[in-house]
């Protein structure tokens, strides 16, 4: 029941925030912070109360930390089934945390239609939580689509100059590919129906199906394309730079921090466990796509002059590591993929907040108009340097752990591809440091009168720095949570082989 409330509180809070606008322009922000804090408390409670060893998954008799299951559409055996294990717990915590950051960072940026803005923000977050918690494939699809609409509105209403184009592109890419996933889900369900004579969309029931290899490959591709579009991986990535660049700061934070992770989560939770054989035969092409994403993203990032666009391309590069890690499919690589999901969530969100702060101050995202900002905004600059270094994979911070583990793991799976993937680690410092160089050092071209980070922004950045350092120094606390889940998924796949 707690799981239901986690989602429902946000939906309710969204309605309340919309209505609360009548009580003053700051009211929706406070309401959103309040409901997110409530969610964070619930998550913290679950985290502290959980026994990581119980967090098994996959097998029919899986014992989840929490489970909530009621009948929904009985005609098709569809249940409203939510469940939480260590992996979902980590991602839920990330979502709620970044949600609070998103509310805090748009405190002064959003001045129009504040209530409706927070409504959309909270509904997006609710959809994302649903995706991370749903264990019924229909329900999963339902939330998968539900999170897109408010995100579309966030970009289309509060975005920048080219927002309409970007928002429609975002919607079309995700929606069309998700219809392929719907067809694949139904195909899978129908195979089970032919075998057993009953309908079920339940994850547990759909594991361990005997599938015809050819059909299995097609069905897997349906899921794969939907998830890789969301991830995004080359060649389905073209929506991302536009969406990121045009979205308001909070939108970029949510998009980079958690929405992309739903794609990674889908690959990890559904694609490989549901279609182990097909995934294995598809591993090399998938890893190759990952490596291409890493290098292509890095290359494109280097060529950008728009700060947000640059960060967007680095996201593509980092997400490539996740794709490689998941399809390498061993414990190291999987742990690495999960850590990268978490660490990239924090670091990219922070970089988008910084880019947003620069835009709020300078009314441009063009790096050619910046330069020599360090003396003017020392605090902002120092924090930007910290997160750039985090993003390039400095040991001691979260991203390093993730990417390092992915590379160790994938080395066992495919040496050649790993060599190319590790080139990404060389490219990362180049594009990360070039930003710092161009924006904060270099010669000052125009004189600005900028204000530095204030108390609100320092507080929220402080939280993110703490999270980043925690991941880098004591990753074990998180690995412990995800380990049993991954081990179990691993066994499930190996058992089939």
């Amino acid at each position: 029941m707690i799981l239901f409330w986690l989602i429902f509180i946000l939906l309710l809070g969204g309605g309340l925030a919309w209505y609360g606008e009548r009580r003053g322009p700051k009211m929706p922000g406070w309401i959103s912070l309040g409901v997110l804090a409530l969610d964070l408390l619930l998550v913290a409670g679950i985290w502290i109360g959980s026994e990581p060893s119980l967090a098994l998954t996959g097998a029919q008799d899986a014992s989840w930390i929490l489970d909530f299951n009621v009948a929904w559409i009985s005609r098709f055996g569809i249940n409203f089934h939510l469940a939480l294990d260590g992996l979902s717990l980590l991602l839920v915590a990330l979502t709620v945390f970044l949600g609070m950051m998103a509310v805090a960072c748009s405190w002064t940026e959003i001045t129009e239609r504040v209530g409706f803005f927070h409504f959309n923000l909270l509904w997006t977050l609710a959809g994302v939580l649903g995706v991370f918690l749903a264990l019924d494939l229909f329900l999963f699809f339902f939330f998968w689509e539900m999170m897109i609409i408010p995100m579309f509105l966030l970009i289309a209403i509060w975005g920048h100059e080219n927002r309409i184009y970007a928002s429609i592109k975002f919607f079309l890419f995700t929606q069309v590919t998700s219809l392929l996933m719907l067809a694949a889900i139904l195909g899978l369900v129908y195979v089970r129906y032919k075998n057993t004579g009953t309908f079920s969309f339940d994850y547990g029931d759909l594991l361990n199906l005997q599938l015809d290899p050819a059909l299995s490959l097609w069905l897997m591709l349906g899921f794969f394309i939907a998830f890789v579009t969301k991830l995004p991986g080359v060649p389905f990535h073209t929506w991302l730079p536009d969406a990121h660049t045009q979205a308001p700061t909070a939108g970029s934070v949510i998009l980079a921090g958690v929405l992309l992770k739903t794609g990674a989560y889908g690959l990890l939770r559904f694609v490989v466990p549901l279609f182990p054989d097909a995934a294995q035969s598809f591993a090399t092409p998938a890893m190759t796509l990952g490596v291409v994403s890493i290098l292509y993203g890095a290359h494109m990032a280097f060529a950008q002059t728009d700060v947000k666009r640059l960060v967007a391309y680095t996201s593509i590069s980092h997400m490539g590591f996740i794709l490689v890690g998941i399809f390498a499919w061993n414990e190291w690589a999987l742990q690495g993929a999960v850590m990268t999901m978490l660490a990239h969530g924090i670091s990219s969100a922070a970089l988008f907040i910084i880019a947003g702060a620069l835009q709020e101050r300078m009314h441009t995202r063009d790096m050619r108009c910046m330069g020599g900002l360090w003396p003017e905004v020392p605090r902002l600059a120092a924090i930007a340097l910290f997160f750039s270094i985090a993003a390039l994979g400095m040991p001691g911070l979260g991203n390093f752990i993730g990417e390092f583990l992915v590379l160790i793991g994938s080395y066992r799976a495919d040496v050649t591809l790993t060599v190319f993937a590790s080139l990404g680690l060389i490219a990362a410092p180049v594009y990360s440091l070039i930003v710092i160089q161009k924006v904060f050092h270099a010669e000052q071209r125009e004189t600005h009168r900028l204000w530095d980070f204030g108390r609100r922004e320092m507080t929220l950045m402080g939280f993110m720095i703490v999270a980043m350092v925690w991941m880098g120094v004591y990753p074990q606390s998180m690995l412990d949570l995800s380990e049993p889940v991954l081990e179990n998924l691993d066994q499930l796949v190996r058992f089939r082989n």
Partner: protein
């Protein structure tokens, strides 16, 4: 005729009586509001006496008519739609001078025709119902005669409809020549004994072509956009829902009773019609700036989606076909009625609000109407949380079960294109407001539309009651 038989005919008797009473009422004293009230009473009486009919079904009354749960279900949909359209007309025509009372008389006869159509089991009843409906529609479409578009639309519909009827007649004559019976279900037993001949194939194709005209399937769709655009908005709502829905229900009954799904040539023709309708409808809708024309082309695409379960019938039982089509039709009725309803309540004065640009900034000027319209358009696009999504889920479900991968692929492409033009409308509402002033919506019509909006969401979130009901109807069909 037995008492049960009379009871079963109650919907037909009541709607016919209502038409007569309204006609006499107009003759005695012209009053717009009284006519509206009489019409509403008639339709409501038809609707609330349906449970009485439910007590005696399934029952065959005369060789022409059958009342079973399937027909009762569609009669309920038709009369409910009739009520909403009456409310829309009240708001739309209330402010216009000239004499508008006869419109309601035509509306009632059209409803009567549709009711006969969905409960017919015989070609004679089919033809009677179809013509009663169509003849009323000619006049309804051309009702605002001073508007040249309206008149043109009426004439266009009259001519094309007459041609399609003649196709239908000739086709049924050929089928009769072969089987010696006009009863749908007789074809089943006769066909298995005598087999299919070229004559049957030609006859059947002509029947399908005749009905495809009414359903505006590609390549028989040319009248659609002009008629939709020219007719007054509430009448368009009626044409788009009742006239198409009733014909679809009839086609479904004909195919299910005669078990034509298994007939390969029919399968091939319908697959082609489906693909062409989905692609052509969506592509043409892409280029429209007029909301009514956009919806016209999108309705062609929706009719194409609806044919997918028909095609799936070749390998699935008729239950699945009836089930998925019925649900999709419910969702289609609600959303289409809502969309044209919104156009008609937003209109005040002589010029209708049909340009997409007219809706710019609606979200900030009239948030209530805009949210309602957003819900309706998202449902048309088949986005979750709305009835349209569950409908599309049914279509996917039938298509995947029958492994119709090419059609599923076309469906995905079509939905993608569809999404783009539905989003254009939503995005226009989100833009900065233009100088246009909006009139107050008429209360009754607006409440009815709000009810439809709520229904869209309820069916999208909790479809179980309806899906269970439809499952029962499909399972008991023809038993």
């Amino acid at each position: 005729m037995t008492f049960d038989g009379l009871l079963a005919l109650l919907p037909i008797i009541l709607s016919a009586t209502a038409a007569i009473v309204v006609m006499l009422g107009i003759a005695v004293c012209r009053s717009h509001s009284r006519t509206v009230n009489l019409t509403l009473y008639g339709l409501i009486a038809t609707l609330i006496t349906l449970p009485l009919v439910g007590g005696v079904i399934p029952i065959q009354v005369t060789p022409l008519i059958i009342m079973d749960s399937f027909s009762v279900f569609f009669i309920a949909m038709i009369t409910a739609t009739g009520i909403v359209v009456t409310l829309l007309c009240k708001g739309y025509f209330g402010e216009r001078d000239s004499e508008n009372e006869e419109l309601y008389l035509l509306l009632l006869t059209a409803v009567l025709g549709a009711v006969v159509l969905v409960s017919s089991r015989h070609f004679a009843a089919l033809f009677l119902g179809l013509e009663t409906m169509s003849v009323s529609l000619f006049a309804m479409i051309a009702y605002t005669v001073r508007n040249e578009f309206s008149l043109e639309a009426g004439v266009k519909y009259l001519i094309l409809s007459a041609i399609s009827s003649s196709f239908l007649l000739f086709g049924s004559a050929l089928v009769y020549a072969e089987f010696g019976s006009l009863v749908f279900s007789d074809m089943l037993s006769l066909a298995t004994t005598s087999g299919w001949t070229p004559l049957t194939a030609v006859g059947l194709s002509m029947v399908v072509v005749g009905l495809a005209f009414k359903l505006s399937l590609v390549p028989f769709h040319l009248w659609t956009s002009d008629v939709y655009q020219g007719a007054p908005a509430p009448v368009t709502a009626f044409v788009a829902t009742v006239s198409k829905g009733a014909v679809f229900a009839l086609l479904l009954r004909y195919f299910a009773s005669a078990d034509l799904f298994q007939h390969y040539p029919v399968y091939a023709v319908i697959s082609l019609l489906a693909m062409a309708s989905i692609l052509v409808g969506n592509f043409l809708a892409l280029q429209q700036n007029d909301l009514k024309r956009l919806l016209a082309y999108s309705s062609i695409a929706h009719m194409g989606y609806l044919l997918i379960p028909f095609v799936a019938g070749i390998s699935l039982g008729k239950e699945v076909v009836i089930e998925s089509l019925s649900f999709y039709l419910v969702a289609y009725f609600i959303t289409t009625l809502g969309a044209f309803g919104m156009i008609s309540v937003m209109t005040s004065g002589e010029k209708e609000m049909t340009d997409i640009a007219d809706y710019r900034g609606l979200f900030w000027k009239k948030p209530g109407s805009a949210v309602l319209m957003t819900a309706i358009f998202l449902s048309l696009a088949g986005i979750p949380l709305t009835a349209g999504f569950i409908g599309k889920f049914y279509i996917f479900y039938a298509g995947v079960q029958a492994s119709l991968w090419p059609l599923i692929f076309v469906l995905v492409i079509g939905s993608g294109i569809g999404l783009y033009y539905y989003l254009r409308v939503i995005v226009a509402m989100l833009e900065e407001p233009g100088p246009l002033k909006y009139a107050e919506e008429p209360l009754g019509a607006f409440l009815a539309l709000a009810g439809l909006g709520v229904l869209v969401i309820i069916l999208g979130v909790y479809p179980s009651p309806l899906s269970d009901l439809i499952y029962q109807i499909a399972r008991t069909f023809g038993v």
